[in-house]
Amino acid sequence: MGMKPDNSRGRAQDPTLLRRLLRAKDRMDAASHEEWPVERLANVSGVSEAHFARSFKEAFGAPPHRYLLTRRIERAEALLRDTDRPIIDIALETGWQSLGTFGRVFKDVTGESPTELRAREQAATHALEVVPHCYVSAANRPNLTMAVSEKRRREVSDSRDAEDETEVPK
């Protein structure tokens, strides 16, 4: 991006590398509540840690941890919509370590608080019962095209208590 040299532009990524990167994406999909440090993802793909994040982003359009974040939010949205479980339980089950961080990131990404989203979704009627679960889930995936911190910066210019935090809270 910008003036940064990007040597990946010259040649398309090798399909066998992409297939192995897909394996890392699949693993995050299957267990998005788990911690996925780059080392673990790089191992799954058989790629060096130094190259993994860049290769993944080039392949799938988002850095691995932002991708993971969208999967966590997507799953939390589904649980808010489809269950009446307490929000703290949903936060913990989808990979967050605190209700506060979950609520803040959730609102940054979706524009609504978990409570607001639940109220709106549960009031609406859904006609997606006949579509296989995973495709419904994918259709509701947040389209997060920038880092959460950047999104927050743009939307909340006067945030006095904004903390510096990674996209995937520990």
Binding site: A12, P15, L18, R19, D26, A59
Partner: protein
């Protein structure tokens, strides 16, 4: 049935590898395997679905130019091809059998809405949902 879809196909990076996967691991049968120079028309069939053939096509010249073929291989390897659904009588049994055969599962069997489903990929990257039929 005399009318309907007869063949639908998927792109695979290597037809020998795909044959080993769909026949050797999934239990499909070869319907047609016809070679003509570099071109190979390969279709397989589910043993319980004789009216339908699944084509296993390699994107390559002369069907398409080399650059397009590389692009298609890339799309398949990223898992971006359309979803496929396999219906089975018992998802957990099928999962166990296929896992032992070396199939790469991307989701273990899960029960939801009264049916069990799982997900797997073929070696090229094509994604399958495996769903237990509802009676």
């Amino acid at each position: 049935m005399t009318q309907g879809v007869g063949v639908a196909g998927i792109y695979v990076r290597d037809q020998d590898e795909a044959l080993e996967f769909y026949v050797g691991k999934l239990g499909f049968r070869v319907h047609t395997d016809a070679k003509n120079g570099d071109y190979r028309w390969l279709t397989v069939q589910h043993p319980e679905q004789p009216s339908f053939q699944l084509g296993l096509y390699k994107p390559a010249p002369p069907t398409m130019d080399a650059a397009t073929a590389e692009t298609v291989n890339t799309i398949v390897a990223k898992g971006a091809m359309p979803p496929l659904v396999l219906i089975v009588d018992n998802c957990r049994d099928a999962h166990e059998r296929m896992r032992k055969a070396g199939v790469e599962f991307t989701q273990e069997p899960v029960e939801r809405y009264g049916a069990v489903d799982a997900s797997f990929r073929d070696p090229s990257g094509n994604g399958w949902k495996m769903i237990e039929g509802r009676g």
